[in-house]
Each structure stands twice: as structure tokens, then as C-alpha cells.
């Protein structure tokens, strides 16, 4: 059988080559003539240069915006920090921007943003990772695609909708569960944030887990490991840099979120506590910008600068993680 199929291929490849078609082809090229071909090629080369230029300009636009925003934030954020004093600004625990004797300490906001983000990550990462493992390694393709589209939808819901649902469902639930006078507090914000970062964590970790070569898992199973042992001792460690970037991405999303947390956190400039109404870095800017003026307005720009620095650090961390993965 093998013999006959081999000759089949030989025959068909021979019959596919029509006699004389080769010389006809060179005929076409000869008709065009070498000078005409060169002219065309020159035109093409010129077009190539123009396209390269367009690509370059588009690439530069991204850099230009980053530089512009950085310059804007630094120039508008630094003066207030100078006037207030950097330690008083960063480590002052009282924010009373409209008082007769205004105080501009943003430590409550910084700590709230840090605690809120940490809390959301602590809840979202284990759930998200396990969900990603389920999607990548356990679920049948039909169930996986169902869950995957649900995750995509979750990622696409506008944050104001998360805020609304949080206000109507989570805030009253927290109030009753812990017998509080008001359920709009850090805990509610953490819960809403954790749902919001979940899709990021899931999809990035899933991609990382899917990229783990099947050979690793087969080797583990062939040594007598169970499926669970294989996933946690081989697949997850092999995907660890991807999972780390999922976490960093989640942190970035959580720390930058404003609308949803403003709606469920109570928005009061307290030092953070799980059951206290709190204000985040983002919400501090959003809630006062409309009526601010003078030093207060400048201080809001300084908060934006602090937030920007946070996000920068996270992005650099992300790049570092990716670089390490490539090495």
C-alpha cells in the first residue's frame, strides 16, 4: 500500500507540470523588459519609504502623548507639593481642603488605594487563578468557551454599572451582615474591585497556562503524578511569570479605578478601616475637581501625579516580569 501511494504522488506531481508552461512564464517577464521592471521597483521602493515614514509617525504619537501627559502632570502637580511640603503632603493624615485653615495630607488616600487594591487582589487572584486552571486544563471545550465569553462580558461591563450593582446589592448586604449604620465602606469597595479585576486575572493567567508545553504535563503524569499534582507542581510554576503579570495587571486596573469605588466606598477622607467610609486617590480627584480652586485645585493635580507615579511603577514592574520571562 505504501508503495502504490508513493508512486501516486510522483505521478500526480509530474502530470501537474504542463509541458512548455515554464518557457511561457519567462516570456511574460521578457515582454515587460528589464528597464520597465526597474522603473516599477523604484516606484515600489519610494512607496516603501513613505509607508515607513507613516509607521514611524504613528509610533511617535504614542510616545508624544506619554511625554505630554508626564510633562503636564509634573508641571501642574509639583507647585502644590512645594507649597504644602512633600512630607506634609504625602504623610499628612488629615485632608480638609475646604476648611478655614485647609490641610492637604493625602496619606488616607494613599493607604486606602493600597489597602483596597491589596484586598481586591487577595480575593481575586486565588479565584481567578483557579478559574484559569479550570478553563485551560480541566473544562471541556464547550464549557470553557461558555465561561470564556462570560469572562469577556465581565471585562466589558462599564465601571459605573459595577458601581450601581455594588450600591444596590453589596452595600446593603454588608450593612446587614455586619450590623453597621452604613455599608458604604472599604470592604464594599474591595468586593466590587475584586470582581472588576477578576476578568484580567483570569484571561492573562489562562493564556499563560495554555502556553505551558503539553510535554511537561505528560512527563509529570508518566511519573505517576495525579492531575492536580501535575497542575500545581508543573503547570502553574511553568506559567508563573505569566501569572505574575496577571497579578500586576490586576493591580493596575484596581488602583486606577474611580467610578465604581466612589459609589460604594462612602467617599469620606478617613484613614482606612475595613468598615469605615473611605476615599481613594482616584476618587479624591474626581469628587472635588468640579468645585475646586486655588491651592486645593493644585493639590488635586498633585494627587494625580502621585497616582501616575504608582501606575508607572506597576508598568515598569510588568515590563520587568515580561523581560525576565524572555530571558
Amino acid at each position: 500500500m505504501q508503495i502504490s501511494s508513493a508512486t501516486d504522488i510522483k505521478e500526480s506531481s509530474e502530470s501537474g507540470r504542463k509541458p512548455g508552461s515554464g518557457s511561457e512564464k519567462t516570456g511574460y517577464y521578457r515582454a515587460a523588459g528589464p528597464s520597465m521592471m526597474e522603473k516599477k521597483q523604484r516606484k515600489k521602493n519610494a512607496a516603501e519609504k513613505v509607508m515607513n515614514g507613516i509607521f514611524f509617525v504613528c509610533g511617535m504619537i504614542a510616545i508624544a502623548f506619554v511625554l505630554f501627559i508626564t510633562a503636564f502632570l509634573v508641571s501642574s502637580g509639583v507647585p502644590a507639593i512645594g507649597k504644602i511640603g512633600i512630607t506634609k503632603f504625602l504623610f499628612g493624615s488629615v485632608w480638609a481642603s475646604t476648611a478655614a485653615e485647609p490641610k492637604f495630607g493625602i496619606l488616607p488616600f494613599i493607604l486606602t488605594s493600597v489597602y483596597g487594591t491589596l484586598g481586591a487582589i487577595i480575593i481575586a487572584v486565588p479565584i481567578g487563578l483557579l478559574c484559569a486552571i479550570f478553563l485551560a486544563k480541566v473544562a471541556s471545550s464547550r464549557i470553557a468557551s461558555l465561561i470564556r465569553s462570560a469572562v469577556e462580558l465581565l471585562a466589558g461591563i462599564p465601571s459605573v454599572v459595577y458601581g450601581l450593582v455594588g450600591m444596590i446589592v453589596i452595600v446593603p448586604m454588608i450593612r446587614e451582615m455586619f450590623d453597621l449604620s452604613d455599608g458604604a465602606n472599604l470592604l464594599s469597595a474591595i468586593l466590587v474591585l475584586s470582581v472588576m479585576v477578576l476578568p484580567n486575572v483570569i484571561s492573562v493567567s489562562e493564556t499563560a497556562l495554555l502556553a505551558v508545553p503539553k510535554e511537561y504535563e505528560e512527563a509529570s503524569l508518566a511519573l505517576g503524578a495525579t492531575w492536580t499534582e501535575t497542575v500545581f507542581k508543573v503547570s502553574v510554576p511553568a506559567a508563573s511569570s505569566g501569572i505574575a503579570s496577571a497579578v500586576v495587571l490586576g493591580v493596575g486596573r484596581a488602583i486606577g479605578e474611580a467610578m465604581a469605588v466612589m459609589m460604594v466606598s462612602g467617599n469620606v477622607a478617613n484613614m482606612p478601616g475595613l468598615f469605615k467610609s473611605v476615599r481613594f486617590l482616584t476618587t479624591a480627584i474626581a469628587s472635588e475637581m468640579s468645585y475646586s480652586s486655588g491651592l486645593q485645585r493644585q493639590a488635586l493635580f498633585s494627587i494625580a501625579l502621585v497616582l501616575f507615579v504608582f501606575i508607572m511603577i506597576i508598568t515598569l514592574l510588568l515590563n520587568f516580569v515580561f523581560k525576565k520571562k524572555k530571558d
Binding site: 510535554e215 505528560e218 512527563a219 511519573l223 505517576g224 495525579t226 507542581k233 510554576p237
Partner: protein, 250 residues
């Protein structure tokens, strides 16, 4: 000579396609059994029934029995225990992306050995048995992926024998290696068969002839002929076997 594994009336389907047709084959203890045959003939599939790696394939259905030392591995044995007792080395070297030490210690740790001294000893012994100790003893904590292809494959052999299997399955384990590495692994196999039983798949007729004791020829899911390697290569009984080993098809 005693049979360590036996396959009785083994039939296997991938969905509608029957990949193995009524295979009866005994694996003798402390021998190297070579499975030969053209690609797609079922030898790989047969090998994977011996440690139940076919369980991972969707739509795979098996009829018949496989025994390991008299125990039916599909009915009366836990699959994880089976795979500890029947180890496997794959076609492509697949060390875990961890240190050399952790690669070898992975199996023993799975099976409950956590004592540092015991692990050290197992790692050293396995690497020595796989003839790779001298090349690795100074870099046990280095990532295994930094080794050459031939070293990685011998590391995989060391990893497989670290759990002290009874049978070692080698699926074309030298096909991606240069002649020198291949030679080293062949020598290793001859050494290892004193302690273990080896079943190997090879497309290299010289290799089968050089190192195996028993040769089994598969074609289109059927076991055409099995016997002592010398007999198979000198006087094959079946015409198809003769055509295959003399290189007239396949």
C-alpha cells in the same frame, strides 16, 4: 524467562478508527523489546497502553487486558501506581523548567520521599545510572533547560528511573539526537536492562538490531511478527517483515 507484562487480545479505537487489532504480546523481564514498524502502525499506541497514557486521549476505547506481574492494569490497579511502576521516556526530551536536582527529585517527592539525605542519594544514584553524573554534579541547582539535547534526554531517563520503575518505555527516545548521544543512550540501555525491563520504539533498524533482544513488527494496527531480534533480522518468517527491515517500504 518470565514475562513482566502481557497484553491479551488488545483492541483499541480512536473514535471510529481501530488503531490496534487483537494484539497479543508478552514483554520479558530484563530484556529490551524493540517495537518497529512504519509511522501510524500502532506501535506508539501500543506502548501507551502499557502505562495508560492513552487515557488522556479523547475518544480512546480499549478492549482486552494488559497485565503487569499478573495484575490487570486496567481493572485492578491505580493508574498513578501503574505509572510509577512503568516509567516512560518521550521522543522529545522534556525536562521540567526547574533545576536538574528538582527534575530528578520530582518523582520521588510525589511518592512521599521528602527527606533531604534520601533525595540527595536518589538524585546521585539516578544520574549515575543514566551516565550523566559527571556532567551534572557541579551544576545540580542550574536550570535543566540549559543542557544540550542529548544531556536533556539522559536527564529524562534519570528522572524516569529515579522512581525505580519495573519497566521503562522509550518512545523513539534517540530520534532527535546526534550519533554520539544516541550511542551513549544505547550503551545506557544495555546497562539499564540488568535492573529494569525496556520497551523501545525505534525507526532505526540498526539500533533495533544492535541493542534489542526481542523485536516486534507492527503494521496497520496488527502485530505481524515477534521473536528474538536475531531471528527477525536474519530469517523473518513474514514477507512484510522482511520487506520492512530491508527498507523496501515504510
Amino acid at each position: 524467562m518470565a514475562n513482566i507484562m502481557e497484553a491479551h487480545n488488545l483492541n483499541l479505537w480512536y473514535g471510529e478508527h481501530q488503531a490496534l487489532k487483537n494484539i497479543n504480546l508478552d514483554i520479558q523481564e530484563h530484556k529490551i523489546t524493540a517495537l518497529i514498524g512504519p509511522s501510524g502502525c500502532g506501535k506508539s499506541t501500543f506502548m501507551k497502553t502499557l502505562n495508560r497514557m492513552n487515557d488522556l486521549v479523547d475518544g480512546c476505547r480499549i478492549e482486552g487486558d494488559v497485565f503487569l506481574n499478573g495484575t490487570d492494569i486496567y481493572k485492578d490497579m491505580d493508574v498513578n501506581i501503574l505509572r510509577k511502576r512503568v516509567g516512560m521516556v518521550f521522543q522529545k526530551a522534556n525536562p521540567f523548567p526547574m533545576s536538574i536536582y528538582d527534575n530528578i527529585a520530582y518523582g520521588p517527592r510525589l511518592h512521599g520521599i521528602h527527606n533531604k539525605a534520601a533525595l540527595d542519594e536518589i538524585v546521585e544514584r539516578s544520574l549515575k545510572q543514566a551516565a550523566i553524573w559527571d556532567e551534572t554534579k557541579d551544576r545540580l541547582k542550574k536550570n535543566a533547560l540549559g543542557m544540550s539535547g542529548g544531556q536533556q534526554q539522559r536527564l529524562c531517563i534519570a528522572r524516569a528511573i529515579a522512581v525505580e520503575p519495573e519497566v521503562l518505555l522509550m518512545d523513539e527516545s534517540t530520534s532527535a539526537l546526534d550519533p554520539i548521544s544516541t550511542g551513549k543512550i544505547e550503551e545506557l540501555c544495555l546497562e539499564l536492562k540488568k535492573k529494569y525491563t525496556i520497551v523501545m520504539i525505534t525507526h532505526n533498524m540498526q539500533q533495533a538490531n544492535r541493542i534489542s533482544d526481542i523485536t516486534a513488527f507492527f503494521l496497520l494496527g496488527e502485530l505481524i511478527e515477534v521473536g528474538e531480534t536475531q531471528n527477525i533480522f536474519l530469517n523473518p518468517k513474514n514477507k512484510k517483515t522482511e520487506e520492512y527491515i530491508t527498507g523496501r517500504f515504510g
